[in-house]
């Protein structure tokens, strides 16, 4: 799933809000949500695959944190959409 699609889910956006405040392990994160810990883990996996969060080993615990580069990728995704779209439009107008 790309970053924009990953952001399409309200729980995942809320997870990002929490992680933006402070990086934390999945257990601490799950306490802030009414959904189950495995469900939170699944959302984290989607966010991680989309490059929006990163898992850091901190001592014995794995801590999730926001990955700023991932948000830049969101911009690049939209950017490249319009680069391709407008160059195709340009060709179309020449016909």
């Amino acid at each position: 799933m790309n970053a924009l699609d990953a952001l399409g889910n309200p729980i995942r956006r809320q997870i990002l809000v929490e992680l933006r405040r402070t990086p934390m392990p999945v257990g601490a994160l799950a306490e802030r949500f009414s959904i189950s810990r495995p469900a939170v883990s699944r959302h984290l996996r989607v966010l991680q695959d989309a490059g929006l969060v990163v898992l850091n080993e901190r001592g014995a615990q794995n801590v999730y944190a926001i990955r700023v580069q991932g948000f830049r990728a969101v911009r690049q995704f939209i950017d490249s959409f319009w680069d391709v779209a407008l160059s195709q439009l340009e060709e179309l107008a020449k016909r």
């Binding site: 952001l7 933006r20 830049r72 160059s87 195709q88």
Partner: protein, 138 residues
């Protein structure tokens, strides 16, 4: 806010028609929602903005807020963020030497900001992250 522009070798009326009636011809093939690379995409005066695949499946891509032929378009844009928090796209058509300048501005927009304001503050802050990404200087 992402800003892109291109000069088309045609008049503003044709440029506007290509953009709205024939969006399926310029929309990137790999960014289709129906998985049909030859799907029809239309931006209509009546307000609909949708994709239709060859088997008839339709997907709403947004809402047309302003349809001012040969001049300006304002779209609520669902791809990526969904209909509950659309991004906003403004397209301007200007007559210039040699053709028509088409300028696309893609960002949160005023309508988007209003929509976010109706939701809980945390939700708005999450959107801030996306906006920060969108606002990065080119």
């Amino acid at each position: 806010m992402i800003v892109k522009s291109v000069v088309l070798q045609c008049g503003p009326e044709r440029a506007f028609a290509l953009f709205t009636e024939h969006a399926g011809l310029w929309w990137p093939a790999e960014r289709r929602h129906t998985r049909d690379a030859a799907s029809t995409i239309r931006i209509e005066a009546g307000g609909r903005f949708f994709e239709r695949s060859s088997d008839g499946t339709e997907v709403e891509l947004g809402v047309v807020r302003l349809f001012d032929p040969a001049r300006r378009l304002l779209l609520d844009w669902y791809p990526g963020t969904g209909r509950t928090n659309p991004t906003q796209v403004e397209v301007r058509f200007e007559s210039v030497a040699g053709g028509t300048r088409v300028t696309v501005q893609h960002g949160a927009g005023a309508a988007g900001a209003d929509a976010f304001g109706r939701n809980v503050s945390g939700y708005v802050r999450a959107w801030d992250l996306v906006l920060a990404a969108l606002a990065t200087t080119r």
